[in-house]
């Protein structure tokens, strides 16, 4: 009996983009705040 893998790549892409956006945004925010404390 062949098993099919669920097609849900869109959720994975969304999670990976959201994580990158949050981390990069905070890194940029910190950089800007530390330039002008």
């Amino acid at each position: 009996m062949s098993e099919t893998i669920p097609a849900n790549s869109g959720y994975m892409v969304a999670a990976y983009i959201a994580t990158a956006v949050i981390l990069v945004s905070y890194a940029v925010l910190l950089y800007r705040r530390t330039r002008k404390p």
Binding site: E3, I5, P6, A7, N8, S9, Y11, M12, A14, A15, Y16, A18, T19, A20, I22, L23, V24, Y26, A27, L30, Y31, R33, T34, P37
Partner: protein
């Protein structure tokens, strides 16, 4: 300031290595048969959850020591750790529902693990708001320390909630007394990701600590108001 420069470099290296985590997770780690590609969210969600909880434990420990020692460096570290923890908690609360929808069929469930994680995020926000609302540095540090200790007490309940309550959330598959229930290649990717999230936590905390220090110097010189 050397500390600030070090924090920036560590963060930059962490972000570069995060790209490496993405490549390894997406191209060089096998697809889990039952969950499909959505399972790969695990490599971001779990390390972020570990650091969201660990950051609050460190806030609590620094707060306890601050109340005894009154060392401003401990208060500065607690503030920095709380802000970094808020970022990781935001990642957990974003990636969790995105993972939950295809696997559980719902974005959110008010079960113990999810609700307590939301409380942790709200506690972080409350902690940071409290700090910004109190002008006197001594009172600010004392009040924040008490809230930080309360936040630390929440963390064991979050971790053990899957054992204590009936919950949709799965049991731990890595952080548990027996050996991890993961194939070697998936475990290696997860450990790589955990290392990168650790580096990012360290970079964020060092920069935030340096920012607090610089602001205190400016406040003492009367050049800037409390922020």
């Amino acid at each position: 300031m050397r500390l600030l420069g070090a924090g920036r470099w560590i963060t930059a290296v962490g972000l570069l290595l995060l790209a490496g985590v993405y490549v390894r997770a997406l191209a060089f780690t096998p697809i889990e048969r039952a969950q499909g590609l959505a399972q790969k969210i695990f490599y971001l969600h779990v390390p972020a959850a570990i650091w969201a909880e660990a950051a609050m434990v460190l806030v609590g420990l620094a707060s306890i020591f601050y109340l005894f020692l009154k060392d401003p460096r401990l208060d500065r570290f607690a503030e920095a750790s709380a802000e970094a923890g808020t970022v990781f908690a935001a990642i957990v609360l974003t990636t969790g529902p995105i993972w939950g929808k295809p696997i559980w069929g719902t974005w959110w469930s008010w079960d113990a693990r999810l609700t307590l994680t939301l409380f942790l995020f709200l506690l972080y926000v409350g902690y940071l708001l409290l700090r910004s609302a109190v002008a006197d540095p001594g009172a600010r540090a004392r009040y924040a320390a008490v809230l930080g200790i309360c936040g630390m007490c929440l963390v064991p309940f979050i971790h053990f909630s899957v054992y204590m309550f009936r919950t949709l959330h799965p049991m731990p598959i890595v952080l548990k007394p027996s050996s991890p229930s993961l194939p070697g290649s998936m475990l290696a990717t997860w450990l790589f990701s955990l290392g990168v999230f650790t580096l990012l936590y360290v970079g964020f905390v060092i920069q935030r600590y340096a920012l607090s220090y610089l602001r205190e110097q400016l406040e003492a010189a009367g050049e800037v108001g409390h922020v």
